[in-house]
């Protein structure tokens, strides 16, 4: 004899503290258990792809800043890589190193936000979140020193980076590198062994390996499911083949694995930055590229291992000053493909946790 309650439709979002922006989940509940969900997007749709068709190749860079505003630097880089592939531009050595440093700093930055927000979704009252944001502030200081802004950097350029690093940058970065491992250890002490956190995140929202690959899920979410796939190793763009680092992978693919993979990736990123800071050569930071770019007719798909997954740009050029077609492969959106399968059968509280563990930015989901 089973007791049944009537299904109950709950609208989570669009304005809800845990949807990380304006996202809406129409959830059908049985008591507290989710029976069905339907994700609703589009509350932040700005038509980036259409806007880009009317802008010069340089003018698009600020647009990419505003797609995933947590990881502007990686977005810049991914776009610039695609344009360089399209226009066949060479990049000076020093600029390559700067790009690696920036991309890895951005990865730490994003993972700090992701992990902090995830623990917040588990119900911790802002403590881990604020600790992690404290370190993110430091990184943003460094970004500000380099680019002049704290969030929308607009730093990468086709053929290099916009300006050289200031003189005081590398010492400050070294100081940060020295301090950061202690801070990561602090987060781990604070939350990793916490029984409540483990109970809330272990074996929750399991994403099997096959499903992850089939759904095109990439980045830490896929790696937590055991997919050992990292474009930095698999398709080393730029100069990533010169650095030593590991790809942390999870075993089960639950929410806890996604969190631990992110923490481990931060450590790997620190390793990469350390090597890059050691080896960075002097020289020009931007190659000789015309101010208004006219790439030849053709198409190119440039991608990189963004902090959230494979971030790619598919560009079609008709030889003009603006791309004919500008398509983004948004990791945030595609990582949500399996959301329905991951959420059904769990309680609302788990749903929030699982959703938080995927780590999305609505600016990129909707674009």
């Amino acid at each position: 004899m089973a007791l049944h309650t009537e299904p109950f439709i709950l609208n989570i979002g669009p304005v809800h503290p845990s949807t990380h922006g304006v996202f809406r989940i129409r959830a059908t509940l049985d008591g507290e258990v989710i029976v069905d969900i339907e994700p609703v997007f589009g509350y932040l749709h700005r038509g980036v792809e259409k806007l880009a068709e009317q802008r010069t190749y340089t003018g698009i860079i600020p647009l990419t800043d505003r797609m995933d505003y947590i990881t502007s630097m990686s977005n810049n880089l991914a776009y610039v890589l695609a344009v360089e592939k399209l226009a066949k531009v060479k990049v000076p050595e020093r600029a390559e190193y700067i790009r690696v440093i920036m991309a890895e700093m951005q990865r730490i930055c994003n993972h700090l936000v992701a992990a902090g927000a995830f623990i917040n979704d588990c119900g911790a009252f802002f403590t881990p979140f604020l600790y992690m944001f404290r370190e993110r502030e430091k990184l943003m200081d460094l970004f500000e020193m380099v680019s002049g802004q704290r969030l929308t950097y607009n730093y990468m350029r086709v053929g290099g980076v916009s300006q050289d690093l200031p003189a005081e940058f590398l010492p400050a970065l070294r100081k940060f590198l020295k301090e950061m491992p202690a801070h990561i250890a602090e987060y781990e002490r604070l939350i990793n062994d916490n029984e409540i956190f483990l109970a809330r995140s272990r074996m929750i929202g399991i994403l099997p390996k096959e499903l992850a690959i089939n759904c095109g899920i990439s980045g830490p979410v896929a790696r937590a499911s055991g997919v050992k796939w990292d474009l930095r190793k698999a398709d080393p763009y730029g100069i990533y083949d010169r650095f030593e680092f590991d790809i942390p992978t999870g075993t089960v693919g639950d929410a806890n694995d996604r969190y631990t993979v992110r923490i481990a990736e931060m450590k790997q990123s620190l390793r990469i930055i350390e090597q890059a800071v050691e080896k960075i050569p002097a020289g020009p930071v931007i190659s000789d590229v015309p101010k208004v770019l006219h790439p030849p007719v053709g198409e190119a798909y440039g991608h990189l291992e963004g902090p959230k997954g494979e971030l790619g740009f598919y560009l079609v050029s008709d030889g003009g000053i603006a791309p004919y077609r500008f398509h983004v492969r948004p990791p945030s959106l595609i990582n949500l493909t399996a959301l329905r399968q991951m959420l059904i059968g769990w309680k609302i509280q788990d749903a929030i946790t699982i959703f938080g563990s995927i780590d999305i930015t609505m600016g990129e989901v909707d674009r």
Partner: protein, 146 residues
């Protein structure tokens, strides 16, 4: 390093498996006939030499005369990648078969293409607008949209 397989090499292989399915084997891509798209995709995914298990992205481009759907797939086992395309010449009611049953990752992306370009993916279980609201007129990424 991921090897970008040349369409020239892969095209004949697909043609061999599915006669009449390939329209063009360019250096950068393989152009498939829309009616053979799902079969070709299944072949690319299941053939052990190809084993394209991962779909990078799906999109479409509006070339005024036709819509071109672009698919990029990667094999995680062989670490190679391939781009294949298909075309649809109907501008009023463009229809392309959906590959969601081959790669589930196409789910939201096909919906996005439908929303912004108006290309209907036949066989998709939930083919409706994703970003814009129901009842929005037109498809903004088309070149003739204001």
């Amino acid at each position: 390093m991921t090897v970008a397989l040349a369409g020239k090499d892969i095209g004949p292989q697909i043609e061999k498996a599915l006669p009449g399915s390939v329209l063009e084997s360019a250096p950068g891509y393989v152009m498939l006939k829309p009616e053979f798209l799902v079969q070709a995709a299944t072949f690319l995914k299941n053939d052990p030499a190809m084993a394209f298990d991962y779909l990078n992205f799906v999109t479409a481009v509006d070339y005024y005369d036709y819509f071109e759907a672009v698919y990029q797939v990667t094999s995680m086992t062989h670490n190679h990648t391939l781009m294949f395309k298909t075309r649809c010449y109907n501008r009023v009611d463009p229809v392309i078969p959906s590959i969601i049953n081959v790669w589930q990752g196409a789910d939201f992306q096909e919906r996005e293409v439908y929303d912004l370009l108006g290309v209907y993916f036949e066989g998709h279980p939930n083919m409706k607008r994703i970003f814009l609201w129901e009842g929005f007129e037109g498809h903004p990424l088309r070149k003739d949209y204001l």
